[in-house]
C-alpha cells in the first residue's frame, strides 16, 4: 500500500502532470471529486480493469507505481472522459503524460517499440504510415483485396485526379533537420534499439 509521510507534498505527481506540455490549460486534476463520470463512459473500463477515476485518485495520492503499472496502457485516447468531466479534468491526458514518464524511465519503451516504423516513415517521407511490421497481421484480417489496393494505389489516385503523395526532397530534408533538433530523431533511435533487443531475445 502507498503510504504518505507527514509533511510530504501529496500533490507532487499531480503538479508535475499539470505542468506538462501535454496537459490542457487549466486541467482540473486538483478539482477531481471522484464522481466517476469518466469511468461510467470509458470503453476500456467496460472491458478491462482500467478505471480512469482510480487513475486520477492514484495520481492525487502520489502513487508513482502507476507509471510502471501496465494498466495505463489500456486507455483508447478517445477523450470521452475528458469531454464529460464536470471539473475540466482529463484522465485521458493524465494517461498520456504517465505513458511519457514510463517511456522516459525506460519501462515504457518496449511498449512503443512496435510503432517505431511510423517514425522511420516520417523521417524518410515526412508522412505517417501504419507501421509495416503490422502488414502481414492486417492482411490476414483485411483480406487479399487490400494487398491489391496497395498495388493499384497509384493508378487509382491518378483516376481520382489526385496529385503525388510524396513531398519535395527539400521539405523532407527540412523536416529531418527540425526533428533532429527537437530531439525526436534521438528518441526514435533509442526506441528502435529497444525493438532490436526485443527481437534478438
Amino acid at each position: 500500500m502507498n503510504t504518505l509521510k507527514i509533511g510530504e507534498n501529496t500533490f507532487e505527481l499531480a503538479q508535475i502532470i499539470i505542468k506538462d506540455l501535454k496537459a490542457s490549460e487549466n486541467i482540473g486534476i486538483l478539482k477531481c471529486i471522484q464522481c466517476g463520470m469518466c469511468t461510467s463512459l470509458c470503453p476500456a473500463a467496460r472491458h478491462t480493469d482500467y478505471d480512469p477515476r482510480e487513475i486520477v485518485k492514484r495520481v492525487l495520492d502520489k502513487d508513482e507505481s502507476l507509471i510502471t503499472d501496465d494498466i495505463i496502457w489500456n486507455c483508447f485516447y478517445c477523450y470521452t472522459c475528458h469531454s464529460v468531466c464536470p471539473v475540466n479534468n482529463s484522465a485521458c491526458e493524465v494517461n498520456q503524460i504517465l505513458r511519457q514518464k514510463a517511456i522516459d524511465n525506460g519501462k515504457g519503451k518496449p511498449k512503443i517499440a512496435p510503432f517505431s516504423a511510423y517514425g522511420d516513415s516520417f523521417l524518410e517521407y515526412g508522412l505517417g504510415a501504419i507501421p509495416n511490421d503490422f502488414f502481414d497481421h492486417l492482411l490476414k484480417d483485411y483480406g487479399k483485396e487490400w494487398l491489391q489496393l496497395k498495388v493499384d494505389l497509384e493508378d487509382i489516385r491518378e483516376e481520382l485526379g489526385l496529385g503525388p503523395i510524396l513531398l519535395p526532397e527539400k521539405d523532407v530534408n527540412d523536416i529531418n533537420k527540425i526533428l533532429e533538433k527537437t530531439g525526436f530523431t534521438k528518441r526514435l533511435e533509442r526506441v528502435r534499439r529497444c525493438k532490436d533487443e526485443g527481437n534478438s531475445r
Partner: protein
Amino acid sequence: MKEIPDKEILLFKSCLVNVEYPGVESSTRFLFDKLGIEYIVSERQSCCTGLGHYSDLFDQFSTAALAARNFGIARELGHKNIATLCATCYAILKKSGNILNKQDHIRDSINKILDDSGVPDLKYNLEDMDSRSNIFHAVEILYNKVDEIQDLVEVDLSEIKVAAHHACHYCKVHHKDTIGNVRDPMVMETLARACGVQTVNWYDRKTNTCGNGFRQRYMNKDLSFSITAEKLMSLKENEVDILLHMCPNCQLQFDRNQKVIGESFGTEFNIICLNVSQFLALALGADPYKVVGIQTHTVPVEPILDKIKQIIHAYEV
C-alpha cells in the same frame, strides 16, 4: 456557433486518406468546387504526426514544431484557414495552435529550431493561427453550406438509411469548439438529411469510440474489436445501410475489420462505410469510381449504387 470560412482554405491532406481512402479527398474537392469554396492543397505539407503521436511515439514538442512548420506554409500561401480530412489532424493542429499561442518559451524554442533548420520564413508569430477561427474539419466547411448542398442533390436516396459516427477526436478533444451537442452530435445527420436520406439520429453506443484506440488495434486486438462490435451490433439492430464517417481511422476500423468481427460473432453486418464527403458527392451525382473512389473500400459499396439506380429507374417507368 463559430464562424466558418469559405475561402483562403488549405485543405490539409491526411496520411490514411492518401493511401486507404483517397476518394475522401477527391470527393471533398468535388464538393468544394461545386460549392465555390476557394481552397488549395500544398505538396509541402507534412503529416500531423497523429498516428505516431497517439501511439506515444511522438512527443508533444516535436508534434507542435511540425505544426508550426505547416502553419507557416499555410500563411505563406495566403491560405491560413485549415480544413482537415481527418479528426485526429483536427485535434492535433488545434492543440498545437493553442500551445504556440499560449506558451511563449515553447514558441521561442520552436522558432529557434525553424531558424536553425534553414526555414526562418516559416517561423510562428504569436496569434498566426487561432485554434477556433482558423482550424476546422472539412465537414464543418460543408455544414456551413448545407442549404446550397440541398439545392444541388441529383439522385433520390429516400430508400436508404444512414447513421453517423462522429469521430471522438472531432467531438471530444476540443469539445467547446464542436458544433452542436457533444453528447449527441448531429453535424453529419444534418448534412445527410439535406440529401433526402433517412437518418437514424440516435442509436445505442452512438458516441462510442470506433475502438481503434491507436495502439489497441495493433497490440490488443480482441479488446479493440469488442468495442467496435458493440457499435456494429447496434447499427445492425437499427437496420442501417450506410455508416457515415469523418475520420479515416474510424472508417478503416469499421470497414476493413467488419468481416472478421462479424465472423467472430457468427454474423454478417454488411454496413457500408462512407466518409460524409463521399456520401454527399454521390448525392450530387459524382462518379462512384472516378470521384468517390469506392474501389478502395472493403465492404462493397455497389449494393447501394444498385439501390440508387433502381430508384431512378422506377421514376423513369
